[in-house]
């Protein structure tokens, strides 16, 4: 097994889910509480990565961050190397690719906070921001964990976007899913089987955690 690929994958998934935790909170808050009539336009954009082929998404990201785009040009001037085929570029792509996996559970959990509680908080003098941190967030922990864990798991298994934006650079952008693909190409079925099994077990464990978390009654170890 290629431990380097596993390390890159874990680093990518961890950073992606942490970044998504921060980025998705305001987006989900806005999607939940905004009364803007054209809100659905933004909702659809956030959900796009769910339906778009990863290659399409990867293609556009590649164009957008490439050295010929204004953004890519600016980044190259600033840092000294271009974004595509770097870990930073891969991280950016992963964040966009997994955005709905964080935003949607966050928005769903915010939606479940009783409007009456929020109003009570306002009448008690707490601003919308303070209400968010003192009331909405603490009541949303299960949904927050779900979102973070799902985006972690989703990043673990991404393939198309990684190939398009990250390339296949050992120790930098070579992730587990690409490792499996390479093994199969090289007819190294034993290696592919080992890595696949690892990904299967980890993914299953992550989903177990999500579903167990979202049970209303914790049936495995009943609460007192």
């Amino acid at each position: 097994m290629n431990w380097m690929a596993i390390w890159v994958t874990c680093k990518l998934a961890t950073l992606t889910s942490l970044a998504l935790l921060i980025i998705s909170l305001p987006i989900a808050y806005w999607l939940t509480y905004s009364k803007w009539r054209w809100k659905f336009l933004i909702e659809s954009i956030v959900a796009l990565p769910l339906v778009l082929p990863p290659t399409v998404l990867g293609f556009y990201i590649l164009i957008a961050i490439g050295p010929h785009s204004p953004m890519g040009h600016f980044y190259t001037d600033l840092v000294g190397h271009p974004l595509p085929f770097s870990f930073q570029g891969l991280l950016l792509a992963s964040i966009l690719y997994s955005l709905p996996f964080a935003v949607q559970p966050f928005a769903a959990t915010f939606e479940q906070v009783d409007r009456k509680l929020i109003e009570a908080s306002w009448t008690l003098g707490l601003s919308k921001l303070k209400t968010f941190f003192k009331l909405i967030l603490p009541l949303s922990t299960a949904g927050l964990i779900t979102g973070v864990v799902l985006s972690f798991a989703h990043t673990l298994g991404e393939f198309g976007v990684v190939l398009m934006v990250g390339g296949n650079i050992e120790g930098v952008t070579r992730t587990v899913s690409i490792e499996i693909y390479d093994d199969v190409q090289a007819l190294n079925y034993i290696g592919a089987a080992k890595t696949s099994a690892l990904l299967l077990v980890v993914s299953y464990a992550v989903l177990l955690l999500v579903y167990a978390m979202n049970r209303r009654v914790w049936s495995v170890w009943p609460q007192k």
Partner: protein, 362 residues
């Protein structure tokens, strides 16, 4: 500067009635205003507009001369800045905080020490000290109501808004807590607006009351006056009780109370917790009229009087009788003609002790 809340608003919900009301609520001396009406009459919406949780389409809300809302100039003071105590119908206690945490939630800008003092103050005022460390889900309905009240008053608001403060409780608890709430409101001396559809609460709690129906204010006045002298048939229908009069309990024996109403003793069923001053309330349909001098019946009250007014209400006739106090009766048209009830005729009014509701009131 006007020490009142002046409210003049219009608000429409799609597919519902339009609410268009003008109200003046005096703030000094602090009084309790009841917004009374059936469900859908707009009373909760008015309360929410006062709280700043709802914005009317048109109109103004002024408090102490300060503009809280003005549709024309797009002024909307948010609920945070209105200095309110607001209690929603189901209390909206924060499930992730203890009772103590709920009460301390809105206390900011004061030292930790002072926060503690404030919390323990309201805990003892509402007699819930022993609940301090409990979570809201562990509390009974009545306890939740007390915690919600404690939370609302902990910030020492300039205005207290209570939405159906007792309706989520079972009947025995409601009677007990209504009594407590009345004493608390008197003691706090914070101007309050209470939404209710229950006439016993309105009578017990209110200094003045506004009767609402279909988004309009039908009548404003002292609760006793509104109940006993509805200005029109709409108000009478909404309030549903016609005779409300102040009395003093003379004695209670065998669960029967003798209440002195002016010169007349009235027998009523005694309920626990009565003090000497009460309102006696009698529904017009519970009063039977008979010709003077007829035989005994099971009714405990037989009052002689003269007919003061006769008003036709279709198949029924509303008759008010002066029998030491004004008593309203509802009889059929045929009964009216058989008894030859005209203004000035002598008649005897009868009603059972069980038909007399006593509402404690000091």
């Amino acid at each position: 500067m006007a020490t009142e809340i002046a409210l003049n608003i219009r608000k429409t919900f799609v597919g519902c009635t339009t609410i268009a009301v003008q109200l003046r609520l005096p703030l000094d001396p602090p009084s309790v205003t009841i917004l009374f009406g059936p469900s859908g009459s707009g009373k909760t919406t008015i309360l929410r507009c006062l709280a700043g949780l709802e914005q009317p389409e048109a109109g103004t809300i002024l408090c102490h001369g300060q503009i809280w809302f003005d549709a024309a100039t797009h002024v909307h003071v948010p609920p945070q800045a209105r200095g309110l105590g607001y209690m929603a119908q189901n209390y909206a206690l924060f499930p992730n905080y203890t009772v103590e945490g709920n009460i301390a939630y809105g206390l900011s800008g004061i030292s930790v020490q002072e926060k503690k003092v404030r919390v323990s103050e309201v805990l003892s005022l509402l007699q819930i000290k022993e609940l301090a460390q409990q979570k809201p889900t562990q509390l009974s309905g009545g306890q939740q109501q007390r915690v919600a009240l404690a939370r609302a008053i902990a910030r020492r608001p300039q205005l207290l808004l209570l939405d159906e403060p007792l309706s989520a409780l079972d009947a025995p608890t409601r009677i007990k807590l209504c009594e407590d709430l009345r004493m608390l409101l008197t003691r706090l001396a914070i101007p309050s607006v209470v939404v209710t559809h229950d006439w016993t609460e309105a009578l017990s709690l209110g200094d003045q009351m506004a009767v609402l129906d279909d988004g309009r204010v039908l009548q404003i006045g002292k609760p006793q006056e509104v109940f006993s002298q509805p200005i029109n048939a709409d108000v009478a229908r909404v309030v549903g009780i016609e005779t409300v009069i102040h009395g003093r309990i003379r004695e209670i024996r065998d669960e029967l109370a003798t209440v002195q109403v002016g010169p007349v003793p009235v027998i009523a069923m005694a309920s626990p917790g009565l003090e000497s001053d009460v309102f006696i309330c009698i529904r017009a349909e519970d009063v039977t009229l008979e010709l003077a001098g007829s035989s005994e019946t099971s009714a405990r009250n037989h009052l002689r009087g003269t007919v003061q007014t006769v008003t036709s209400l279709g198949a029924l006739v509303r008759v008010t009788i002066n029998c030491g106090f004004l008593l309203t009766a509802l009889v059929t048209r045929s009964a009216q003609s058989e008894l030859r009830l005209v203004i000035g005729s002598d008649v005897r009014a009868a009603f059972k002790a069980g038909s007399v509701h006593l509402i404690p009131r000091r």
